[in-house]
């Protein structure tokens, strides 16, 4: 085994992490890995924005302080096009069974058929609704977008203090744009035209924006700057009747420690024709930080080890059900024990609808940001000419895309 020749050659392995349960749960298991390679793994925990900034700077300036980078769906394209990360297959040993990662997540982690990071959390969308409120108003769980809009209006007018709807309003490619995109796609929208130029200022974009804005009238105050947390907490706090959010938030509603609506929530896939926005977070090996062979080997083994089937099982044993990256885990009995069946059903139903809905482009972060800014301006009422606003965002995107060449 010439792999183990690297034992002791890499004194430290630096990893960027974000406080996901899958990452924090590693803490007490690191010693195993440290012993295996006679190394010391150091995971630097960062907030989401800091994590993005740090990883980008570390790779782009050639600092290479980190061997393992934390990547999400929004910047994968950028990292890949800049050549900052190794393809997963190149670095993670076969034994970790890359094929077992959830297909929806693997898809998100893949660019041009090559998977770059090992996902340990991610998913698609579910619609969550308050069974009690719907029952009270005599409404069936909506199955189409039109039904949902109608239901929202009715529920908002109902005299129960709750709002019909909630969503993200705060700007950002991972914020309002993230939730707006399914609407945009549902209207048949495409990001780019055949010439590779931005096309989201077309009819679909305008319609989606108008609908999204309209729904905001039925949401809690302050929605124009809601981030996911505000939105989910509003729902969890019992103020909202219907919410479409990422499926990971499902189990939160059932946590009696934190939720005031335990047992009053129904789960369903997003009503037609809304698609489900896929996302994933995971680890990849940095080309800048792990340039020599041994470092690459150890870093690759770490990624494999940290996202392995066994690791996920051990998490389930510890009662952590929220981060699941592997199909085998989803199918395991241990998982079923921890999560309501209702939710698993919804998950399974949503799966096929899930896709990476955002633009796969290295410049997506800035295009998304500008779009998010425009949307926020519309939501908060600073602008009302939707078409003009989108045109401007598209113009900016054009500029960004041009620079890419």
């Amino acid at each position: 085994q010439d792999e183990m020749a690297c034992k002791g050659e890499v004194p430290t392995l630096n990893v960027i992490g974000q406080g996901m349960p899958a990452v924090t749960a590693l803490d007490d298991k690191l010693s195993e890995f440290n012993e295996k390679w006679d190394t010391e793994v150091r995971i630097t925990m960062l907030g989401e924005n800091e994590r993005r900034a740090k990883a980008r700077l570390d790779a782009s300036t050639g600092a290479g302080a980190y061997q393992v980078l934390y990547i999400d769906e929004a910047n994968l394209a950028e990292y890949v096009s800049a050549g900052w990360v190794y393809p997963l297959g190149e670095v993670v040993p076969e034994s970790y069974d890359i094929g077992d990662f959830r297909t929806d997540l693997s898809n998100v982690a893949t660019v041009d058929g090559v998977q770059y990071f090992a996902p340990f959390v991610g998913g698609g969308d579910v619609m969550m609704y308050r069974t009690d409120l719907l029952e009270e108003a005599g409404i069936e769980p909506p199955a189409t977008l039109d039904e949902m809009v109608a239901a929202i209006k009715t529920l908002d007018e109902a005299d129960n203090g709750a709002h019909g709807w909630s969503a993200r309003g705060q700007r950002g490619s991972g914020m309002n744009v993230w939730r707006w995109t399914p609407f945009f796609r549902a209207m048949g929208g495409e990001w780019l035209d055949d010439g590779g130029m931005p096309a989201f200022n077309g009819e679909a974009g305008v319609e989606a924006t108008e609908l999204y804005t309209e729904l905001m009238d039925y949401a809690p105050p302050g929605i124009a700057t809601f981030n996911w947390s505000d939105s989910v907490e509003a729902f969890r706090g019992g103020q909202v009747a219907i919410l479409i959010e990422s499926d990971v938030f499902g189990p939160w509603m059932e946590d009696p420690e934190k939720s005031s609506i335990v047992g009053k929530v129904g789960y369903a896939p997003p009503p037609d024709p809304l698609p489900s926005a896929g996302w994933a977070h995971g680890w990849a090996v940095s080309k800048v930080g792990a340039s020599d062979d041994c470092t690459k080997t150890v870093a690759g083994d770490f990624v494999g080890w940290a996202t392995s089937k066994e690791m996920e099982q051990r998490r389930l044993e510890a009662g952590i059900a929220s981060d699941v990256g592997r199909t085998s885990t989803l199918q395991s009995d241990a998982f079923k024990e921890l999560v309501p069946q209702d939710y698993i059903d919804a998950l399974l139903e949503t799966g096929p609808k899930t896709d990476l809905l955002i633009m796969t482009s290295p410049v997506w972060p800035e295009i998304g940001d500008t779009l998010g800014l425009t949307l926020e301006e519309i939501f908060s009422g600073t602008r009302d000419d939707v078409q003009a606003a989108l045109d401007e965002a598209a113009f900016f995107a054009e500029d960004s895309l041009m620079r890419l060449k």
């Binding site: 740090k54 980190y66 907490e233 934190k258």
Partner: protein, 271 residues
Amino acid sequence: MGKLISATLTRAVLAVLIVVALGPILWTVLGAFKELRDIVTPVPKLFFEPTLENFATILRNPTIRDGLLNSVIVVSAAVLVGAVLGIPAAHTLARHARKWGDDVQFFVLSLRFMPPVAIAIPFIVIYLDLGIYDTLFGLVLVYLIVTVSTVIWLAVPAFERVPRDIEEAAAMEGCGPAEIFWRFSLPVAAPSLFGALVFTFVLVWNELLLALTLAAQNATLPVVAASITSLGKEVPWGVINAATVLLVLPPLVFIGLLMGLLNTMVRSGPK
């Protein structure tokens, strides 16, 4: 009688103001003992079952300890060196530089006009070349821009307020400029310098961007604090509150010590 009423009134106003001013802090302390469920409620809860879980989460987190240690080292080194270099320079500017003192003083301030974003990237590159990227030393070095310039800027007026005749009397005793500074101006100006030092301390203690960009493993507390705000997808309000409470304690202790030191050094107060 009217006097008495108005005196009580101002006292009441003051009390209300203090409570309002500290309200968010008190609320934070309260929140640190709440479970998330008690925090995320439309009607704020004053009474709840307190939990120590939030603190436990924080204290279990080893990055806090490391962050604290790094912060203490970096900040104390930067403030100390800033004081050692800056305070004498400020005295010189206040006393020995009549013509160009003002300009130097302003230059010193102007160093801080650029947003840290612009400083960060050149520094990463240079630090990599020098091999001090991701070292505490490197952090201290950039922070020196902040500490030295702020100390100078704030200490000059402090020294200008030292009565000149005291320094003259010392000069008559044969004290050179260094001795005058050390034995007279410094002790007399000490209470005003307190503000300058605390100010400088606060600035570097809370610095986030440079700490984030120029260090990797050696994260300081603000970086750690930022990481705590995103434990998982859920915003852990209780944990943030607890962390906030914990993170504020060390600098408070530091400032308390500084204050005590000053109080023993110069018994100030009304005559």
